[in-house]
Subunit: 466 residues, 2 copies
């Protein structure tokens, strides 16, 4: 009969230990298939344990299919093909490989366009969260609609009207965990058979997302007014993905004439759409915000998309899009089975944050902060003895500007040399599909994440590099 010593059972209960021992015997072949197991009572007596213990072990073995029972006969070993022994019970040590977070060991990083650290209003956010936990705890466990909680969609609609002059029906807004996630929804909504078009140069992640989603896309070159409509027509693309209010990385604003041309292009076919990525429109320093393409779209052609990850902090993953009515109807029909990807906590907290005016205050504060940041950096650059070797471009908006430098180094040499000096820089040419067609020696200076105290040092290292 099965004989086991319970001496080495460690922290296992008797039944768990017995269950594991029998599995070992089954997998190793000591117990053959269809072999009859001892009765519960007999085994209990033999091992000097209670019948209940054996019964628990047998029940678990039954539940997992290691043994089977025949009525009025007893328990038998199941047929298990190609088993392998799993004998490891000690927890492996995973601590060996420490993780490298971020982009390497550079002191100064002008290549990442992250939001300013320490700028996020933690105390207000925490207070609102606490209030919501108290006041709305019943709502917090009610599932959010697929498109997001109405309160947040209304707050966004109001904000867009007040500060962006946009008419966005809350019922046409979809909340999601980041713009990247929303892009994937758009692909599912518009269709994978469509051909997409991205800006060249442009934000590289967008092309990566279309690649990862296996959809066809073309790079459309920019002329001085933005995406070239001639190239767009030639590409036979259906869906154009652009940032007309502030192009990354050139900083260009698409003028209103080109905007109307692009809308006309879209209106020529029912398949055509424009995705307007308005990622940092809040941070324009001169004059009013540039009106969105969505606000002059009368043909239901523009999908407007924006994010709070840029304007609040990149570690809060909340973005949204405004769909034309017809596309929203399609979403409700085809895709509203998806759960909303943002937790209720954060949706309600953000809604309160906007409704109570904190978002507006935060944006104003950050706009001033970034303007000062830019001004101080610019002043430092202008003071430098080698200032004559650089030329600054497109500095009125967003969180970066371009700096054309007079140098004999290639762009990759510039980047390497920067690294060796402890400064991480990026070049315009890196954002072109074909580097050779790019303006050379043009650095993209992302200053939003640069600590104030590092400005002097950053400028010094910049000029040492070029």
């Amino acid at each position: 009969m099965l004989t086991y010593s319970f001496e080495n059972k460690g922290s296992d209960s008797l039944y768990e230990f017995l269950y594991k021992k029998i599995i070992e015997d089954i997998l190793s072949g000591h117990l053959a298939r269809d072999e009859k197991l001892p009765s519960k009572r007999a085994l209990a007596k033999h091992l000097n344990i209670s019948t209940i213990t054996v019964e628990n072990a047998y029940n678990q073995l039954m539940a997992e299919g290691y043994i089977y029972s025949k009525p009025k006969s007893g328990y038998y070993v199941s047929h298990i093909s190609s088993p392998r022994l799993h004998t490891e019970t000690v927890k492996p040590n995973y601590e060996n490989e420490p993780e490298i977070i971020g982009e390497g060991a550079c002191d100064i990083d002008l290549a990442m366009n992250s939001a300013a650290k320490d700028s996020f209003p933690f105390s207000v956010w925490t207070r609102l969260m606490r209030e919501i936990m108290t006041d709305k705890s019943d709502l917090l466990t009610v599932n959010s609609p697929s498109v997001g909680i109405r309160e947040l969609r209304c707050a966004i609609s109001d904000y867009l009207f007040e500060f962006r002059g946009m008419r966005a029906d809350p019922d046409c807004i979809i909340i999601g965990a980041g713009t990247e996630y929303l892009y994937s929804l758009i692909i599912q909504l518009l269709g994978r058979h469509k051909k997409y078009a991205v800006e060249d140069p442009g934000y590289r992640k967008i092309a990566q997302i279309y690649t990862a989603n296996n959809v066809r896309f073309d790079y459309i070159p920019l002329d001085k007014n933005g995406v070239s409509t001639a190239a767009l027509e030639k590409s036979k693309a259906d869906v154009l993905h652009i940032s007309p209010s502030h192009h990354f990385p050139t900083g260009k604003v698409t003028p209103v004439s080109r905007r109307y041309e692009l809308l006309s292009w879209a209106e020529k076919s029912p398949d055509r759409y424009i995705i307007e990525d308005d990622y940092d429109s809040e941070f324009r320093f001169a004059g009013r915000p540039i009106p969105s393409l969505q606000s002059i779209d009368h043909g239901e052609k523009v999908i407007y998309i924006n994010t709070f990850s840029k304007s609040l902090t990149s570690t809060i993953r909340i973005s949204y899009m405004v769909l034309p009515k017809s596309l929203m109807a399609l979403y409700k029909k085809e895709l509203s089975f998806y759960s909303c990807t943002v937790s209720n906590f954060e949706q309600y907290t953000l809604a309160a944050f906007i409704e109570q005016g904190y978002f507006e205050k935060h944006i104003n504060r950050m706009r001033n902060y970034y303007r000062t940041q830019r001004d101080e950096l610019m002043e430092e650059i202008k003071k430098h003895p080698l200032f004559g070797r650089v030329q600054i471009k497109e500095e009125d908006a967003g969180l970066h500007f371009l700096m054309k430098v007079d140098t004999s180094l290639s762009d990759s040499q510039l980047i390497e040399k920067g690294k060796s000096k402890g400064i991480n820089i990026s070049c315009l040419s890196q954002y072109y599909k074909d580097e050779s067609s790019a303006d050379k020696h043009t650095l993209i200076i992302n200053y939003s994440g640069l600590p104030k105290d590092d400005i002097k040092k950053a400028v010094q290292l910049l000029f040492e590099t070029i």
Copy 2:
């Protein structure tokens, strides 16, 4: 010269009003293309406003491309093709269409398998969140790695080892905003050209997600041991998507023999993988948890996936998957450009919640809660005079069981009749690709979201319906 009355400017500043008026004149054609605008000084004098005001208006018009300047000559109207007037400035009223949340107006809902309300430990969660805001505010603004914050991945790894007997390297874990999002990552990772296989019957959303992502998939029928390997071979599928520890909706556990067969199937080709969706393994009432397929996989074939939306509250969107090492390497190479979809706040809070033992406590509490819930519901059913007409199946695990009823009504008649009585029920046949191949008259009783006080009423309505 341009003449505007500033009387009706409302809340606009002088420059904004002037800017808008000039746009109106350009779009309506009152100002022709290439027409020269008055000089800033002349217009200021004419309108009796300051030159700065005109300059601001002209600058904004320049930025948006309505006008252009010629050096030493002045400002001219741009060429704008196909403009349309946008004259609406009053905010539209969106309040007309109140939104319907949820599944209709039924009193009792046994068709939704939501988590119990009021069960979420708000006070602990809020306290942890507050502590994290205080103690880790610097980390909260540091971007999470694409795969999620290491602290949370380590906490999950420890939990899986302690309570699931699984070896999951934290570096092979990916955090995401819900399993639905993780499915889309898996499709991008394994490839869209692959053929997927889902269980029939099965959780409908999985098929919907594959459909929305335009990938080919087959429904594989279940025999008494789970997914039929013969049908699987025949379908030529590459990737099998299953819930072996607790199938939805039948509640079946795939026995260990079939598990080894499925692993053997996967090992026959380098293209083959198994997605193990372990969605409610925490809520087994009898004996130990069923060991995961991942824990007996030695061929790097199993992608294990689980969620906290089921075990904590559905309104927290945090799920995770454990990839085989080789797939994790592929993820790092191809997809790690994606930002993590869960905010740092919630990742750190959940990590603390698990590390400090609250998750274990919560699971134990909920397991007891659901067991009591099931027992009370079962007792109420057994007490009913019509109990002889029903038969209960698969009640030891998860948050639902099956109830076969003796009735002359069709399944759709049952559902309709339930609705008319105020009880929302679902039938097993609804989860089959082909309803005709399903067991008829078998209700799925999802009791997890049923308030305790409604149990009597629910049973009464159930028996009135059948």
